[in-house]
C-alpha cells in the first residue's frame, strides 16, 4: 500500500536527515487485508524513526502533543488506532508548537 507520510513541528528531527516528506510502501501483516494506523505506527517506529523513539511513541500510540491527520482530518474522527488506511492516503504526524 502506497502512502505519503509527512512529519512536522520538529518530529522530522527524529528521522534520517530530518526529511519531512516520505513516500512509502507498507504491506499488511501476514493473514490480514488491511493496514491500520496501529500497524502504521509500528512500521514507522521500525523503519523511519532513527533516534529518541520515545519522542514519537508512547505505549501503543503517539506521545502526547502529537496530532495525527489522515487525509487532512484528525485521526480521532476516523477511528484513531483502528482507522484502516487506503491506497494513496496521506498521513501527517505533527508536533504541536508552543513558540511565539
Amino acid at each position: 500500500m502506497h502512502l505519503t507520510l509527512e512529519f512536522g513541528g520538529g518530529l522530522e528531527l527524529l528521522l534520517k536527515d530530518s526529511v519531512k516528506l516520505h513516500h512509502v510502501d507498507v504491506k499488511p501483516k501476514s493473514g490480514e487485508d488491511n493496514v491500520t494506523m496501529r500497524d502504521l505506527l509500528t512500521w514507522v517506529k521500525g523503519n523511519l524513526i532513527k533516534e529518541r523513539p520515545e519522542m514519537f511513541i508512547k505505549g501503543d500510540s503517539v506521545r502526547p502533543g502529537v496530532l495525527v491527520l489522515i487525509n487532512d482530518c484528525d485521526w480521532e474522527l476516523c477511528g484513531n488506532l483502528d482507522a484502516e488506511l487506503e491506497e494513496k492516503d496521506v498521513v501527517v504526524f505533527i508536533s504541536t508548537l508552543h513558540g511565539g
Binding site: 519531512k20 506521545r63 502533543g65 496530532l67
Partner: protein, 287 residues
Amino acid sequence: NGFSTNGLSSDMIYRYSRQLLLPDFGVEGQYKLSRSRVLVIGAGGLGSPAAMYLASCGVGCLGIVDGDFVELNNLHRQIIHTESYVGKPKVQSAAAACRAINSSIKVVEHQELLHPSNALKIVNQYDVVVDATDNLPSRYMISDCCVVLKKPLISGAALGLEGQLTVYNHKGSPCYRCLFPTPPPSAACQRCSDSGVLGVVPGVIGCMQALEAVKIAADVGEPLSGRMLLFDALSARVRIVKIRGRSPGCTICGENSSFTKEEFERFDYENFTQSPMSDRTRPKVTL
C-alpha cells in the same frame, strides 16, 4: 465628530472607508468591531502584528498583557518594538505603537505576567482572546481560563520555520485540553529562545490571528473553529485540516466537567507541564 445614525463618527467613516466599502464587512462589521474588546496575550513575535493590525483596523478596546522587557534579540521578529524601547516593558512599547497608529481606540496596558491569580480578572474584561504566548503552561492556562469565562480563543504558535493556528472554544470547537489532554514530555517543549525562529514566520501567523479575531468580533465569515492551519515556511506550503470537536469527556470543557474558577486559580500549570511560564534564560550562541 458627531455620530451618525449608523453608530460611526465622521472621523471613523473617513479612517475606515476602505473597510466600509466591503459588502461582506461594511458599516455593520465596522460598528461591531468598534464595540468589541480584544485581548492580546504576549507582545512578542505573534503579538506584534496581531496588536498592530487590531489597533489599525479599529477594534474598540485593545488590551495587551505581557510582563517582559524588550531585548535587542527580540527585534528580528517583534516589529512592534523599536530600538529606543530596548530595556523597557514590552506592554508599554506595544501600547505606544498601537496608539501612534490609531489614537481613536482604547488601548489598555496590563504590564504583568498572566497567571492563574490575575487571569480571570483580566480576561473577563474582553470578548475575544488572542493567545500570542511562547510557552506550554500559558497555553493550557489561557485555554482553561477561556473555557471558564466562555471566551473564544485564537491560538497561534510559531517555531523555527513552521506555524500553527486555530480557534478554540468557539462554535463547538475543542479547547486546548480536548486536543492535548496530557502535556507532552518537557523535552518536546522547544521555545524560540532555545530553537530559534525565522522572524517573519510569527508575522504570518500573528496577522492571521488578527484576522480571525476581527472575523469573530465583527461576526463575519467562517472562523478557523474545528480546523487548524499548518504553515511550512521553507517549502511554502499550507494545510488546513479538520480537527476533532469539543470532547464530551474533556476534564475542562466536557459535559461533566466541574472545573471551577476557584480550581483554576489554584491550578499549578508549571507543575502540570513541567515547564516554566516565564523565560528569562539567555541562550549562548557560540559560533
